[in-house]
Amino acid sequence: MDELVLMKGNEAVGEAAIRAGCRFFFGYPITPQNEIPEYMSRRLPEVGGVFVQAESELAAINMVYGCAAAGARAMTSSSSPGISLKQEGISYLCGSELPALIVNMIRGGPGLGTIQPAQSDYFQAVKGGGHGDYRVLVYGPASVQEMVDLTYLAVGRADHYRNPVLVLGDGILGQMMEPVRFPAAVDPAGLPEKPWATNGRRGGPKRLLNSLYLEPEKCEDHNRELQAKYCEMAATEKRWETVATEDAELVVVAYGTTARICRTGLEGLRERGVPVGLFRPISLWPFPDEALDALIEGGKVRSLLAVEMSAGQMVEDVRLAARGRVPVHFYGRAGGMVPQPEEIQEHVRALLEGGAANAGGL
C-alpha cells in the first residue's frame, strides 16, 4: 500500500493504526464512525490482531485499559455520546499512565443530537471531560491523509508518554474518501519491551498498574509527576500550520474540516487582494499558543477570527493566546451544519468593514 489509494477517512484511520503496530481494537458501533470497527473486524484477523465488539463504549475503554496494561498497542473509536461514556476510563488511563489511541469522529450534540459532523467536543477533548487533573494529546486532522499521519503518530506518542492520545475528527473526515499514502508498517514484535507491563512476572519483579493513592501526599506526588509529563508535552508537541499569514491583517483560526473550508474561502479573498491568513492548530492540546503569540507579536495582525463547527470552544484558547492584544472574533455553526467558504468570506469582509463586530454566527 505504498501507492496512492482512495480511502474513506474511517477506514484510513484503521489502516494507519494497524501500520503503527496496533493489533487490538475494542469498540462499539456509532455513526458516523462505524467503518472503523467494521474495517478492523475484517483487517485485524488478517494481521494476527484481535477485534472485539464491546458491549458498550464503557466496556471498550476498559478493555483498552486492560490490553494496554498487558503492553499491547490498543485502540478504540467512537463518536460524541460514546466518547462521553469513556470519560471515566480516560481519566483512569491517565492516572495509571497507560497508552491508548482514542478516535472521536464528532457529531452534533448535545444529547443524541444529530449524526452530522461537528466540532463541539473540543472542550471535552482538550480540557478533559473526565475527573481530575489530566491531559491527553489531541490531534485535529484536516484531511484523510492527515488522519493517517496523525493516527500513526498518535500511536507512537501514546507509548512514548504512556498516555492516551486522542484523534479528533468529525463526521466529514470519517465519511469522505481521499487519496492517501500510508507510512511504513511497524512490526509490533519489534517494538521495545515495556518493563512496566503487567503480563505476568515471569521471573521478574512484581508490576502494578494503579491510579489509587489513598494518602494525599502520595497522590500529590503522583500528580506532580503527571504534570511534569504534561509540561514536557506542552513544550514539545505543539503543531500548527499557517497559510498566508505573513502580511495578513486578519487571521482566521480554525482546525480540522473547518480549516480547509476556511482556506477555500480565504483563497477567494486573497485573489481579491484582501489581506487575510489562516492559522490552523494541528495539536489541539497542547494548543500552539506560542506560534499564535509570535504572529500577534509580528505586529501585522489586527484581529483574529475563530471559526468552529461549534458554539465557541476553541475560541477560548485563541483568546488565552491573544491576551487582549488584538480583538478575537468568533463565527460558528452548530448541530451538524457545515459552514461554506462563502459564509466565511462574507463574515471576514463584514469584520474588515467593521460591520460584524464579534456578532459571531450561530
Binding site: 466496556a59 486492560g66 490498543a74 476510563g89 505476568g200 508490576r207 502494578l208 498498574l209
Partner: protein
C-alpha cells in the same frame, strides 16, 4: 516437625487493612494458594476492583492491575486477549460485580472469556460504609435501606450464579460460604477448578464466596459467620452450578413452545 500451614508465598508478607474477622483475608489466601498449587503464579495477572479489596493489588504478589469500579471483567478481557498465556483473574465485591458491573460481567461471560472471577458476596458495600448491595437480603438493614430492604422500595436481591447459569459461555460456576474449615476447603477446591477451567481454555469461570462483613453488618465476626450460614445460604444456596461449558438451555414455562 514439618510445616502444616504457613502463609502462601504468593501473598505479600504485610498486614492487610481488612477489619477483624473479615473473610476477604481467607479468600485472598485461597487464591494465592491456588496460584502456587497450579504453578501459575509467575504468569498470573490479577485485576483489583473498587471495593474493600481495592488494595488487593498490594497483597497478591503477582502482577496486578487496578480497574475502575465494576469494569474488572472488561479490563481482564483486554488483558487476556492481548496475552492469552497470562492467567487472568478478577477479584470483585458484590457492588462492583453485580451492581455497576453487571453488563461487563454478563458480557464477559457470554463471550466465554477465559478468565477467572473470584466474587466476594458479602451482601453489602463494605468500603463505602455499609450501603445496600444488589445482594443485600430482604429485610436487611443497611445505611441506604434503613428500614430494611423491602421489595417494593429496594427491589429483590440478585443471585449471580443462578443468573449466569443461563449464560452460554460460562464453563464453571460455584458458590461456597467461607464459614468453617470444611467450607473453606470446599471453596479452595472450587477456586482451583475455576482456575483450571481457564488453563484448559474452556471459558468463563466464576466462584462466588459467601463472605462476612462484620463492620458493615454491625456484628461480631463469629456471629457474622453464623449469619452467613443460617441466613445467607437460604437465599444463596451453595454448590456447583456449572462444571463444564455447554448450552444451558432454559425455555418457556408456558404452553406457547410450539411453532405454527
Amino acid at each position: 516437625m514439618r510445616v502444616a500451614f504457613e502463609r502462601p508465598s504468593a501473598l505479600a508478607d504485610i498486614p492487610t487493612h481488612y477489619c477483624p474477622g473479615c473473610t476477604h483475608g481467607i479468600a485472598h489466601r485461597l487464591v494465592a494458594e491456588t496460584l502456587e498449587e497450579l504453578k501459575v503464579f509467575d504468569r498470573a495477572v490479577g485485576i483489583a476492583p473498587v471495593g474493600c479489596s481495592v488494595l488487593a493489588y498490594n497483597y497478591f504478589d503477582c502482577d496486578m492491575v487496578q480497574a475502575a469500579h465494576g469494569r474488572a471483567p472488561a479490563v481482564a478481557t483486554g488483558l487476556k486477549r492481548a496475552r492469552p498465556d497470562a492467567v487472568v483473574f478478577t477479584y470483585q465485591g458484590d457492588g462492583d460485580l453485580a451492581s455497576i458491573g453487571m453488563a461487563e460481567l454478563v458480557h464477559a461471560a457470554a463471550r466465554g472469556e477465559c478468565i477467572t472471577v473470584v466474587f466476594i458476596n458479602n451482601a453489602i458495600y463494605g468500603m463505602t460504609g455499609g450501603q445496600m448491595a444488589p445482594t443485600t437480603l430482604l429485610g436487611q438493614h443497611t445505611s441506604t435501606s434503613p428500614a430494611g430492604r423491602e421489595p417494593g422500595r429496594e427491589g429483590f436481591p440478585i443471585r449471580v450464579c443462578e443468573l449466569l447459569e443461563r449464560v452460554r459461555g460460562v464453563a464453571y460456576l460455584a458458590r461456597i460460604p467461607l464459614t468453617s474449615p470444611a467450607n473453606v476447603a470446599r471453596a479452595r477446591s472450587s477456586v482451583r477448578k475455576a482456575f483450571q477451567t481457564q488453563l484448559e481454555g474452556k471459558g468463563f469461570a466464576l466462584v462466588e464466596l459467601l463472605s462476612s462483613c462484620p463492620t458493615g453488618w454491625g456484628m461480631p465476626p463469629r456471629e457474622a459467620l453464623r449469619w452467613v450460614d443460617e441466613v445467607m445460604t437460604e437465599y444463596y444456596p451453595p454448590g456447583e452450578f456449572r462444571t463444564e461449558p455447554g448450552d444451558p438451555g432454559g425455555g418457556p414455562a408456558g404452553k406457547r413452545g410450539s411453532q405454527p
